[in-house]
């Protein structure tokens, strides 16, 4: 009984804070827009009893989802989001792995400090950090000033309001999520395994590819998902750093909700986004599961 009570806590939490809100969003996505508060119909009127419930369900349809397939804007935004998330994740891996590797190789007494440095950006507001990048990347920004000053370029680079700025923003923001799981995997790596590989005729480089990389794979996969999943629905970074040509579904969603006040279409966009995200989330969970089993 006590065990049941303990187990039920996280499920209860999920029910209240995840499933119920999701059902509400799902319901809105099946509704129609209306000039009302809230801005959609039908609303459930329990005072009318059974007839009210029947009328409520009769008012729901898949019109908004059909609309998403008709306007190319949406599927283009989804595709573009997937592309940006994939490229950002790859870049974050390329930057994050060497950092995690360096941390794992560092002397013990440095590791805590290095870990702190990786987490340090979280101490400042995410929004402020993204704004700071505007100051760095804009035409008159620090980066251009610096490059012109050392004479690498004559005219300022146009980085701000391009996809490149979005990549920089995403990689910068989510890098700790890439570094930490990879570092955790690399730190556990027994150094005698690498010595054994060397002893059995491997060069150090070869031992790295044959042992370090495959053995840190669970960490790499975890890191990639932790970057990919939030990057896919990212809204703040493309709005602030990306230009008008940067199409991301998070941004569309925001515009539908707040500019168009079309809650039903916005909800439909959110539901589809969740459906897309569920695939990598399930894959991620299976990876974690496998790792746990292997660890036993």
């Amino acid at each position: 009984m006590r065990k049941f009570a303990l187990v039920s806590v996280p499920y209860f939490w999920l029910l209240i804070l995840f499933l119920v809100p999701f059902l509400i969003v799902l319901k809105i996505s099946l509704s129609d827009t209306a000039l009302a508060i809230p801005p959609y119909t039908p609303t459930l009127d329990l005072a009318e009893g059974w007839a009210g419930i029947k009328a409520f369900f009769a008012g729901l349809d898949f019109e908004n989802f059909t609309f998403l397939t008709e306007d190319p804007l949406y599927w283009k935004a989804y595709l573009s989001s997937l592309q940006i998330a994939t490229i950002s994740t790859t870049l974050a891996l390329l930057v994050g792995f060497p950092i995690a590797y360096g941390m794992a190789q560092a002397p013990d007494e440095w590791r805590t400090t290095l870990m702190m440095l990786v987490i340090l950006p979280f101490w400042t507001s995410f929004l402020i950090r993204v704004y700071a990048w505007i100051g760095i990347l804009s035409t008159e920004g620090f980066l251009n000033q610096f490059l012109i000053w050392i004479g690498v370029i004559d005219t300022p680079l146009i980085i701000m309001n391009t996809k490149i700025a979005v990549y920089i923003g995403i990689v910068y923001t989510y890098l700790p999520f890439m570094i930490l799981p990879i570092y955790a995997a690399l730190e556990k790596l027994d150094n005698s395994l690498l010595e054994a590989a060397e002893d059995l005729g491997c060069t150090r480089t070869r031992a790295f590819w044959l042992l370090t990389v495959p053995l840190s794979r669970p960490g790499i996969i975890a890191g990639c998902f932790l970057v990919f999943i939030p990057a896919l629905g990212e809204f703040v970074i493309p709005s602030l750093l990306g230009g008008s040509e940067t199409l991301m579904i998070g941004k569309i969603l925001w515009e539908e909700f707040f500019n168009n006040r079309d809650w039903p279409v916005a909800s439909a966009v959110a539901v589809v986004l969740l459906a897309i995200l569920i695939i990598p989330i399930i894959l991620f969970q299976r990876n974690e599961q496998k790792q746990r089993e292997a660890g036993k």
Binding site: A196, C202, L215
Partner: protein, 378 residues
């Protein structure tokens, strides 16, 4: 027909496989190995024995190439190993933790070293199968390391390190993780495999019984120095120092002043007690300065215990039984002599426990022959 005794270290025409020449290894201020010279011969099963921190693992890691000597030279097969990385040495090592690759199957673990040699596929497969048979692992070839038992993992580690047919195999505490019974079985297996493959084995261990069982010669080490290198029998019967005598097996040490007496020595050890006598076997030399401080080392099993004063023995001392340790097959009597020295005497329990002739607080006589004890200077 007499089987020729394997003793290349006694043959001056033999060239050693491994030569340590004045090797010193320092880690910062700490001297792990202090100017050591040591020869190990082909086909030897050589044990480096000592307490933890004595430098035995450092010696081994220098052979494997993971550490470079600070001073001196290490030669393997007559070639200076300076600057030769581990992957280019014909030396393989079995790690204490086994260091099996967790993401590879038993088969792939064994094949790992062979793949680096670029062998043709069929040769490689044949060699892996051979190794699996040698270590009786054929049934487990497809399993991952975490799916097999500790003893099996130990055999995978051995098979993997032997697969490349190295000139020299290094074993770092190879049986440390196994329980006693399995350890004893595995010791004989190791000796068997060593004989079959004809590989030179160097084993690092802190377990003197293990070293005695498997090794052709043992180097007893302490604080970065090799104290004695000899066969197990010599180490046990004729240790060159109190340290070695004490480290290997059980020993009674009686301190006294030595004086030459005929072919042997007379040791005055306590006032009012008859001096003890010791005589050396032929060829054994002890250099004890006349009247100098000396230590008499006697193994407990060489001490006999009597109720009455024995007649016609070289050494007899009286004492009181303080403690009796019953070990099943053996009993060890802890006897306190008149001057407080504790001497242990060990007897085989050939009779049932109830018939034991001596017990606590009994006054008894201990005796040993004049060749049983070894006189040591330090």
């Amino acid at each position: 027909m007499a089987v020729p005794v394997f003793a290349p270290w006694e043959d001056p025409t033999q060239k050693p496989l491994i030569q340590f020449k004045g090797v010193t290894k320092r880690f910062g201020d700490f001297t792990a190995i202090d100017n050591q010279t040591l020869d190990i011969y082909t086909r030897e099963f050589f044990a480096l024995l000592g307490p933890s921190g004595c430098g035995k693992t450092t010696m081994m890691r220098m052979l494997a190439g993971f550490e470079q000597p600070t001073e001196g030279q290490i030669l393997i097969g007559g070639i200076d190993m300076k600057g030769v990385p581990p992957n280019e040495r014909e030396v393989n090592m079995m790690f204490q933790s086994y260091a099996l690759f967790p993401h590879l199957s038993v088969w792939e673990n064994i094949a790992f070293g062979l793949r680096r040699m670029g062998q043709p596929k069929d040769e490689l497969e044949a060699r892996v199968e051979e190794m699996l048979r040698l270590t009786r692992l054929t049934k487990f070839a497809r399993r991952k390391p975490h799916q097999i038992s500790g003893g099996q993992r130990q055999r995978v580690a051995l098979a993997r390190s032997l697969a490349r047919a190295p000139k020299l195999l290094l074993l770092d505490e190879p049986l440390g993780a196994l329980d006693k019974k399995l350890r004893e079985e595995t010791q004989f297996e190791l000796m068997d495999i060593q004989e079959k493959t004809g590989t030179t084995f160097v084993i690092v261990t802190h377990d003197q019984e293990e070293a005695m069982t498997v090794a052709s010669r043992i180097a007893v080490m302490d604080e970065g120095c090799v104290i004695q290198v000899a066969t197990p029998a010599t180490i046990y019967e004729a240790p060159n120092s109190v340290y070695v005598a004490d480290f290997i097996g059980d020993v009674n040490i009686i301190e006294g002043a030595a004086k030459r007496a005929g072919t042997g020595y007379e040791i005055t050890w306590a006032e009012g007690e008859a001096p003890l006598h010791t005589r050396k076997e032929e060829g054994e030399i002890v250099a004890i300065p006349e009247g100098g401080k000396a230590y008499l080392a006697i193994r407990p099993e060489k001490v006999a215990i009597h109720a009455d004063k024995p007649q016609g023995v070289a050494n007899a001392v009286q004492g009181k039984i303080i403690d009796v340790a019953y070990l099943g097959n053996l009993s060890t009597y802890h006897v306190r002599l008149a001057n407080g020295t504790m001497v242990r005497a060990q007897t085989a329990n050939t009779r049932r426990l109830a018939l034991r002739p001596f017990t606590w607080e009994d006054t008894v006589w201990l005796s040993w022959t004049d060749t049983a004890a070894i006189l040591l200077a330090e």
